[in-house]
C-alpha cells in the first residue's frame, strides 16, 4: 500500500523519474533485441544466399545429366558405308556418310517420304549432328555390322532435348518456336512408341569440346584437371612440406627466415590472376613450355597452393607436443631422426588435411589458367601433360560464355560436377581431421 501511495502521488518527481527510467530501460532492451536480430538476419542472409546459390544451380543443372536419345533400327547399308566391299579399307569407312544411315532409319519410324526434300530436311533436324560419329565408332569398332541391322540409341538434337525437358514451350506460336508443328507431331509419335526418351547422359563425362551442346562433354576437362592435380601433388606437396619443416624445425630466428615467412604470408594473398601472368611470362615465354598444356597449369597452380599447404603443415607440426621431440632426443636420436621418425609421421594427418584443402583451392581456380591459354577448343583426349587440354572450371567458363541455350544446362551440370568433387574432397578432409585428431 505504501508503495502505491508513494508511487501514485507522494513524491511525483521520483515517480516520473522511475517511469522515465523504466521507459528508457524498455528502449534499451528493445535496442538490445533489435541488435540481436541484426545478427541473426546477417547470418540468415549469408546462409540464405548459399541455399539460393545451390538451388539455382541444381535446378538449372540436374537436367544436364539426362540426354534425349532416339532408339532406331539402323541398317548399315554396304552401299553407303563400304561401296568398295572391302572392310579393311579403313579410310573409306572413316569417310562414309553415316548421318544418312541414321536419317533413313528415322524416316521409316516417322513415315517421311524419302522423295520429299522439304520434309526430309525438317526430319533431319531431329537428330544430333553427333550421330555421324556415334555410328562411325560402331563400325570402326566392329566392321562386321556392315550389311546388318542394329538397334542403337542415337543422340537427339538439342532442340528436341530442350522440348522434352520443358525449356521450349509448346504454347509459343509456331513461327517463333524452334520446332514447327510437324516436327512436334513426329516427336510425340516417337515418344508414344517409346522410341524417344531421356537417358542418363554419359556423354557429359566422356565427350570433348564441341560446338553442339548435345555432343559437348567434360572428358578433356576432367583429364586436364586430373593431370594438373597430379603435378600439384608431385610438386607442391613435397616442396611445401620441406619448406614448412625447415621453417618450423630448423630455421634460426633471423632476417632470412623472417623474409621467407613474410613472403609466404603475402604470397597467399596475391590475386590468382597474377600467378597466371607469372606462368605466361616465365613458363611459356621464357622456358618455352607449350601453351594450353596441363603441365604449365599444374606448375602455376603449384606455386599458388604452395603457401596454403605450407601454412597448414606448419600448424600441424606445431601441434606435435615438445615432449615427443624431447623424448626422442633423450634416447639419442639426431634432430633429423626426431623429425623424420617421429614429428612428421605424427603430423601426417594434419599435413594431409592441408594438402586436400590446397588441392580444393587448385581444382576450383580459373583465372590463372585463362592466362596460360587453357581456354582452348580441345576435342581429343590429352595423352600426356604436355598435350593441350582444358580444366573443369575453365570448361565451365567457356560454356557459360557460349551462346546456345543447351549450354546453360551443361554449364550448370558441369558446375554441379565441380562442386561434387569439392564437397567430396572437403568431406574427406573433415573426416581425416576427426579420425586422426589427437588430444595430447
Amino acid at each position: 500500500m505504501t508503495d502505491q501511495t508513494v508511487g501514485s502521488g507522494g513524491l511525483p518527481g521520483i515517480a516520473s523519474a522511475a517511469n522515465e527510467s523504466s521507459k528508457r530501460l524498455a528502449k534499451r532492451h528493445a535496442a538490445e533485441r533489435r541488435f540481436r536480430w541484426y545478427g541473426i538476419a546477417a547470418l540468415l542472409f549469408g546462409l540464405g544466399f548459399l541455399v539460393i546459390l545451390f538451388t539455382s544451380i541444381i535446378g538449372k543443372g540436374w537436367t544436364a545429366f539426362l540426354q534425349t536419345s532416339a532408339h532406331l533400327e539402323v541398317y548399315f547399308d554396304p552401299k553407303v558405308v563400304n561401296p568398295s566391299g572391302n572392310p579393311a579399307d579403313r579410310d573409306e569407312l572413316l569417310r562414309a556418310n553415316y548421318a544418312k544411315l541414321a536419317d533413313e532409319a528415322l524416316y521409316k519410324v516417322i513415315g517421311v517420304d524419302p522423295d520429299n526434300r522439304k520434309e526430309r530436311r525438317s526430319a533431319n533436324k531431329l537428330l544430333s549432328r553427333g550421330v555421324d560419329t556415334q555410328l562411325k565408332d560402331i563400325v570402326m569398332a566392329d566392321p562386321s555390322v556392315i550389311g546388318e541391322k542394329r538397334d542403337v540409341w542415337l543422340l537427339a538434337a538439342d532442340d528436341v532435348d530442350a522440348l522434352l525437358k520443358g525449356s521450349i514451350s509448346r504454347d509459343t506460336p509456331e513461327e517463333r518456336r524452334a520446332l514447327d508443328n510437324q516436327q512436334l507431331g513426329w516427336i510425340d509419335h516417337m515418344v508414344e512408341k517409346g522410341l524417344l526418351e531421356k537417358r542418363f547422359n554419359t556423354g557429359l563425362f566422356v565427350y570433348g569440346a564441341s560446338s553442339y551442346p548435345e555432343t559437348a562433354g567434360l572428358g578433356v576437362a576432367l583429364i586436364g584437371s586430373l593431370f594438373m592435380m597430379m603435378v600439384v601433388i608431385l610438386l607442391a606437396v613435397p616442396l611445401a612440406v620441406a619448406a614448412a619443416t625447415y621453417l618450423e624445425e630448423f630455421a634460426a630466428k633471423n632476417r632470412i627466415s623472417d623474409l621467407i615467412e613474410v613472403n609466404i604470408n603475402n604470397l597467399a594473398a596475391v590475386p590468382s590472376i597474377v600467378f597466371g601472368l607469372l606462368g605466361l611470362a616465365i613458363f611459356i615465354n621464357f622456358l618455352g613450355l607449350p601453351r594450353s598444356a596441363p603441365i604449365v597449369g599444374g606448375l602455376v597452380l603449384s606455386l599458388m597452393t604452395l603457401p596454403t599447404i605450407i601454412i597448414a603443415t606448419r600448424a600441424a607440426l606445431k601441434a606435435v607436443p615438445p615432449s615427443i621431440r624431447e623424448g626422442a632426443l633423450g634416447v639419442g636420436a639426431s634432430k633429423h631422426q626426431v623429425i623424420m621418425h617421429h614429428v612428421l609421421p605424427l603430423a601426417l594427418p594434419g599435413i594431409l588435411t592441408g594438402t586436400i584443402i590446397g588441392l580444393v583451392q587448385a581444382l576450383g581456380e580459373t583465372a590463372p589458367l585463362l592466362m596460360i591459354g587453357m581456354v582452348a577448343f580441345v576435342a581429343d583426349y590429352p595423352s600426356t601433360p604436355m598435350d593441350p587440354a582444358t580444366a573443369l572450371p575453365v570448361q565451365i567458363y567457356m560454356w557459360a560464355t557460349a551462346a546456345e541455350r543447351g549450354f546453360i544446362e551443361r554449364t550448370a551440370g558441369a558446375t554441379m560436377v565441380l562442386l561434387a568433387f569439392l564437397i567430396v574432397m572437403n568431406s574427406l578432409a573433415v573426416y581425416l581431421r576427426h579420425k586422426f585428431e589427437r588430444k595430447w
Binding site: I40, L43, Y246, A400, T415
Partner: protein, 492 residues
Amino acid sequence: MSNLTILAILAAAAVLAYLVGRYRSVQVSNGNTIPTHSRPSYHGAYLAIWTVIPALLLLTVWTAADNPVFEYFTAQQLPAAYHEQSDAQQSLTMNVVESIAEGLPHLTPREDEILRKARYGFVTNDTAREVLSENGVILGSAPEPYVIQAAIYLADLRATARLVLPAVCFLLAAGCFFWAYRNIAPALRARTYVERTMTAGLFAASTVAVLTTVGIVLSVLFETIHFFQLVPPQDYFFGTVWDPRFSAAGSGGSEGQFGLLPLLWGTMYISLVALLVAVPVGLFAAIYMSEYAGPKVRTIAKPLLEILAGIPTIVYGFFALVTFGPFMRDAGAAVGLDISASSVLTAGIVMGVMIIPFVSSLSDDIINAVPNSLREGSYGLGATQSETIKRVILPAALPGIVGAILLAASRAIGETMIVVLAAGIAANLTLNPFEQVTTITVKIVSQLTGDLEFNSPQTLVAFALGLTLFVITLGLNIYALYIVRKYREQYE
C-alpha cells in the same frame, strides 16, 4: 639421349648406390655395425648423394646454358655480313638457322646430302628450301649458303652434345661413386653429411616462395617496362580513356589509348559495393556467433558460412550471369529502374557475398580475443549486451576488424572470375550503380586471351595492369597483416 632418360638412369643409380653403400658399410665393419659412427642406411644415403647430386647439378647447368652457348658459337661461324646487321635482322637470321637446324635431323640421308651440297653452291638454294619445306621447315625465302652452313654446324654441335652430355654425366656419377665408395669406413661421419645435405634441401625448398615473389615481380616488371617504352607512363596512369584498339598498331592515329583511371574506378566501385554488403553482414554475423550464439549454433553456422569462401569464384560468376543479373534487371524493370544485367550492383553484391567469410571469420577470432575482463567490467556498470558490444568490444577490436576488412578488400580487388562473367566490358567512368563498369582483372583477361603478340602495347598493357594490381593488393595485405599482428600483440 633425352634429359628425361638421363634422370631416370640417375634415379636407378641412386637406388643401386644406396644398396651398395649399405652393404659396404656392413662389410667394412665386419658385420658389427654398433661401433660405427653412422647406421648402414646413412652410408647408403651418403653414397647415393655423392653419385647423383654432382651429376644432377651438371645436368641442370648444362641444360640452362647450352642454347645460348651454342648460338654464340654459331654466330661466330657466320660471315662478317651477319655481324654488320642490326639486332633485329640478326635475330631473324638466327631464327632461320634455328629452324633449319631443328629440321636437319629429320632428313633422309639423300636430302641431307642435298643440303650439304647447297652450302657450297653445288645445288641451288631453292632446291634446299624445297627439301626443307617437305620436312616441315617452312622458310620465307631461299636460305643463303652461309645460313645452311651455320645450321649444319649448329645441328652438329647439338648432335655432339646429345652424345657428350650423358657420357660426361655418367662419368661424373661413376667417378664420385668410386671416390665416395672408398671413403666408407666405420669412422666416416656419414650421418652428418647426409643430414647437412637434407637441411640444405629443406632450405632450398623454403626459398621457392621467395623465388616465386621475385619471379612475379621481375616477369611483370620487365614486360611493364617494355610497355612504357611504347606508351608514355603519364598516358597510362592519368589517361581517362580506355580504348586499346586491337587493329594494326603503329599506324599513327589508330594507336590505342590505355588510360588506367576508368579501370581503376570500376575496380574500386565494384569492390566498394562488395564491401558495403560484406562488412555489415560479416560483422554482424561475427558478433552474433561470438557473443550471442550458443556453441551448437556456432559449430554449425560457422563452417556453413565459410563454405561461401570455398565455392570457386567461377560458380559465383555463373550464378551472377544466369540468375542474379537477370533477376536484378527484372526487379529494376518492375520498379521502373533501368538496371543493366551486368551492372556494378550485380557484380558487387555477388562478390560481397563471396567475401563475407573473410570479414566474419577473422572478425570472429578478433572479437573472441578481446579479454573477458572488458566485457565483465561493462556488465558490472549495468550496460546491456549490445551496449557492451557497441561501446566496449568493437572499439577494442576495431584495429583488428579494420585489418580484416582490408584483407577482404584486397580479395575483392583481385577477384577475377565473378567480374569477368558478371561485370561489363565497357570501361565507363560512371557513378551510376545500375550501369556497367569494367575492372583491371577483366581487362587483363581480355587482353591476354586469343592470339598473342608480345611486342604490341595491346598485350603488354596486361602486364602493366597486373603490376598495378599486384602493388595495390600487396600494399593492402602488408598493411592489414601489420595491423592484425600489432593488435594481437596488444592483448597477448
